[in-house]
Symmetry: C2
Subunit: 420 residues, 2 copies
Amino acid sequence: MSSNARNDVSEQQESAAKTGHRLSRRHLLLGGAAAGIGAAGAIGVDVVVKGGIGASAPQTVPLFSGTAAVPFFGVHQAGVDTEPQSRVTFVALNLLPEVDRAALRRMMRILTDDAARLTQGEAALADSEPELAVVPARLTVTFGFGPGLVAVAGGEAPGWLRPLPAFTIDRLQPEWNDGDLLLQIASDDPLTVAHATRMLLKDLRSFATVRWVQSGFRRAAGSEKPGTTMRNLFGQVDGTANPDVGTTDFDGLVWSQADNPGWLVGGTGFVLRRISMNLDKWDGLDRSGRESAIGRTLANGAPLTGTQEQDVPDFTATTPLGFPVIPEFSHLRRARSENTAQRIHRRGYNYDDAPTGAAVSNSGLLFACFQADVDAQFVPIQTRLDTLDLLNEWTTPIGSAVFAIPPGCTKNGYIGDTLF
Amino acid sequence: MSSNARNDVSEQQESAAKTGHRLSRRHLLLGGAAAGIGAAGAIGVDVVVKGGIGASAPQTVPLFSGTAAVPFFGVHQAGVDTEPQSRVTFVALNLLPEVDRAALRRMMRILTDDAARLTQGEAALADSEPELAVVPARLTVTFGFGPGLVAVAGGEAPGWLRPLPAFTIDRLQPEWNDGDLLLQIASDDPLTVAHATRMLLKDLRSFATVRWVQSGFRRAAGSEKPGTTMRNLFGQVDGTANPDVGTTDFDGLVWSQADNPGWLVGGTGFVLRRISMNLDKWDGLDRSGRESAIGRTLANGAPLTGTQEQDVPDFTATTPLGFPVIPEFSHLRRARSENTAQRIHRRGYNYDDAPTGAAVSNSGLLFACFQADVDAQFVPIQTRLDTLDLLNEWTTPIGSAVFAIPPGCTKNGYIGDTLF
Ligand code: HEM
Ligand code: HEM
């Protein structure tokens, strides 16, 4: 009977593997739950999986479960290689002038302790609403350090830890830029994100003030088959060409090695670009124009030279008239380098704020990406896109921030302990 | 085999019934899917429910399913007695001065047509991103008419269709008040809400401008057992004492009868109060102070005189010192009238916007409620709470709007057709 349940989950995993996607942590968690971790079945919508004739007690298999938790402690911080949750809030803070190295250490201890609890569905230490903490729904809290914080800590900053070079396409609004400390708070449940954000901001009250808050979303967990690539508000499949989590390729691209300051080994670099998307203008473009702008189909994200999302684009293929099938100025062509070291791990979210005036949307992408070296990996791509990218016609970067994501920590340590 | 699947669903229904909650539409939809409506299994997270020995093809039962759809056509509009979805966007619009009765009719035909499609997971007629329309996730679109719209239509407005009387606790900010037309767009998927909102606002471009947009959330669908009452950002169980959908009690309280203008029969009245909640101040209060303010426990929402959420409060019970166990000035005591006609159907959502300055939250409740007669049902409650309610110490109404919700329509009609 329980072997039946196990079989079912293996079938799910197998079919996920067939689609060419990595097995997500989520799958693994569900696998664990099905194999008998009872707690996960306590809350959440379960289906009773009946065994063969004569089976006694029914076995429950939670699917999307509010109790699913992502481990907090480890070599790396969670929230980087975690299968993206449905909701995110990014918060950047300014350190108060009186905060020194000792205060920073205190601050990171408190934050680590509360984040570790909250991500496991436990109340924070001084949780004022402990009843809101019981549904982690894969909550992760990821901390990032800006140049200001590293300076106060007296640490060595990686060369790339500074505002990005100015790009001609940028129309940056200062209220969306930079910061000393970053919190990336992500979960499949919006109430969980709200509660965790508040608890951590309470911890920070005597150390920092809020600089900006940006919230984003993807489809609800469970809306689509696990492993489905997200769509952005242009309707595009967005996130196809990403390094596969769990491969050495991913590890090499994302996790800091010896070329970064020692405290950052096992960490990574983070870029957030708030990119406004002009949906009204986009709607003026016909379907084939849209597909040319990207170099992929709208239907399933296949390259214009293929039929399946994961097909390898053929940049040499030409139309009967001799033009490249994937236009040279398409986003796909311009974003992809011959130099395979110039790749990044994208983990973005849609944003959709209240429109004002005659506009019927105020929408865009919280373009978020992780890479070991921002200068060597992100900047060349953004520079190429700045020079030429059909998509620039409909997109405008209005915010920009860079943070160093320190490594994870052990149960006895705290995030950032390698820096202090 | 398929009878097995059916049994499992009946078990779910039975257990939901045991919790004392009505069977939600969602349950019923899932029941339908399990009984063999194949389409619902096409997308979404499925569990393979295996039959007995020798079963051939596996049967799938979607749990939280992006494909679950709420019927659009009917006697009443959906989104009133629908089990609340996880996400909502309320939009109020101002009609353009040139819009006359004929234009209004055109407008409502277009909106009805697109809402009917979108709620069923179909693209809108001129959908610019049809790929975003495929996941309804119980999308409902509910239309409301303000006094301005009814006047242009030349219809008779119910007496209560006007701004609420001024209350002493109100600190209304004009940007959150009133409006000619209301859209309530709710779904378990945030991308679905964003897409539907945009499609409908595109329809409205030549008829109206956006007055305000307010978005809210509850726990993600599937985070908790179906039928769990929501919690607000004070951590309180919020929504316990609500009339039961599907009862004559509910029908009498919510759906307009002959005492309203004829075009509104089968419709209802809607009040939205944007109520800011001072979480910082609330956190200064100890647990027993909080429970006294409401008259219910934080742990499970039971009245202070009981142990279970649904226990009937005993207002005569006293403490050893002779004080009422449920304080006379508690929200529960003040909100409940001896007159059982003075009741409303609450269907609110949390909001959590970006904090500014030293505040660590900008949060509150989109207090939304439906009742056949706003003056006879809502106003007496709000007046009592205005006079005295311990909760006023921590809550401030900052927005207020009243709309008439016309009845539903048939496939050949359109929302509002009884008015035109
Ligand atoms: C609103 C702005 C943007 C939109 C709507 C957008 C959309 C897309 C889409 C639809 C794809 C193809 C599918 C995929 O592989 O994900 C793509 C690919 C990609 N984009 Fe963007 N993108 C935006 C901004 C950026 C920025 C700012 C960067 C980096 C500077 C970037 C880097 C990439 C990369 C590296 C790829 C993969 C290219 C490859 O196939 O190797 N994108 N983007
Ligand atoms: C932010 C503001 C508010 C908060 C936090 C709040 C919270 C609560 C809570 C926790 C309960 C008890 C559980 C329940 O039955 O749902 C309750 C009950 C109730 N509230 Fe509120 N409420 C607020 C504003 C209002 C307003 C503005 C009204 C109407 C004018 C209202 C009307 C009611 C009613 C009718 C009940 C049920 C009372 C009964 O047991 O019969 N509330 N509220």
